[in-house]
Amino acid sequence: MGKISLNTGYCKSCGLCIRACTRGALSISGKTNEKGYRVIAADDMKCVGCGLCYTVCPDYVFTIEDQTGSEWTV
């Protein structure tokens, strides 16, 4: 499994990660960042660490850290 972490300061609330996520783990939160955008929040219980959010995000918000010990990347 991978652990998802978010740099919400970079988020522009475009919603492309929500469209890409097949697990329904992402949503727009009620929090606003310094730029004034309502930022993304992740549900750790639903996230499987597939990295689709990382792939589609134009704003470098997501990091997926492997917690199984393997180090292959896509």
């Binding site: 995000c57 470098y60 492997d66």
Partner: protein, 248 residues
């Protein structure tokens, strides 16, 4: 299945593109490709004018700002004097295919051995959404308020078809950023173009279909659906030339 995915070190920080703009993804793909190929330290980017110039903010490699439309001419010159460096131009469709069409075509025709990255969103984005040569028929912009017509503006320019007629071109591909699969494919295209360049094979170009939600007046998600539908129907996605050039 688990994997590590983190932003490349070559990305300096947040970008300043509009929300949902595809440029941010393309810049990250270039950074990933450069690091994986071991060229992050010797790459030189010829930066165009327009939204594409905002690559300056996020991408931490050597870059040079070029006159409008002339990034491919600058890249050609840089590559000629520094053939050991990985050189690429980063341009939009307005810069490379309208103002700089001559430089673009003659870079390919002269077989200049750099890589041209063209981010095609079908409009002049930074100046307010005017029509570009790549604006689709019927598309409304600030200069085609009733929609682009063939009678007034001709048909949209397919640069891959033009390049495809030049036999010396080493690598040509058209990618897209409208979904994860196409983003991963586009990264592969960029890497293959860079590899062709460093092998000395000849001119290489990757055109990338990208949304402009701001000037298309659409939500980012809807912009991606437009690319998946009407835009990619006119501009087919995939590799056009592989293994071409001097080593063919």
């Amino acid at each position: 299945m688990a994997m590590t995915k983190k932003i490349p070190d070559t990305i300096k920080g947040a970008n300043t593109f509009c929300p949902g703009c595809g440029h941010g993804v393309v810049v990250r793909l270039i950074a990933e490709a450069l690091e994986e190929l071991g060229h992050a330290d010797d790459a030189i980017c010829a930066v165009a004018v327009g939204c594409s110039c905002l690559v300056n903010v996020a991408l931490g490699i050597d870059k040079i700002g070029c006159p409008h439309g002339r990034a491919s001419a600058c890249a050609a010159g840089i590559k000629r004097v520094r053939p050991g460096n990985l050189v690429f131009s980063y341009q939009g469709d307005g810069d490379s295919l309208s103002i700089g069409l001559a430089e673009t075509v003659y870079s390919a025709q002269r077989n200049e051995k750099f890589t041209q990255i063209i981010v095609n969103n079908g409009v002049f984005g930074m100046t307010g959404g005017q029509a570009s040569p790549c604006t689709l028929i019927g598309q409304k912009t600030t200069t085609t308020v009733d929609g682009r017509s063939v009678n007034m503006s001709g048909v949209p320019l397919d640069i891959m078809k033009m390049f495809g007629q030049i036999e010396s071109v080493a690598y040509l591909a058209r990618g897209s950023v409208h979904d994860a699969q196409n983003i991963l494919n586009t990264k592969r295209y960029i890497k293959k173009a860079f590899e062709a360049q460093m092998a000395g094979a000849g001119f290489s170009c990757v055109e990338i279909l990208s949304p402009c939600p701001t000037n298309w007046h659409m939500e980012p998600v809807d912009s991606m659906e437009r690319i998946a539908g009407v835009v990619s129907a006119y501009y087919p996605i995939g590799e056009i030339v592989t293994g071409g050039g001097l080593n063919a």
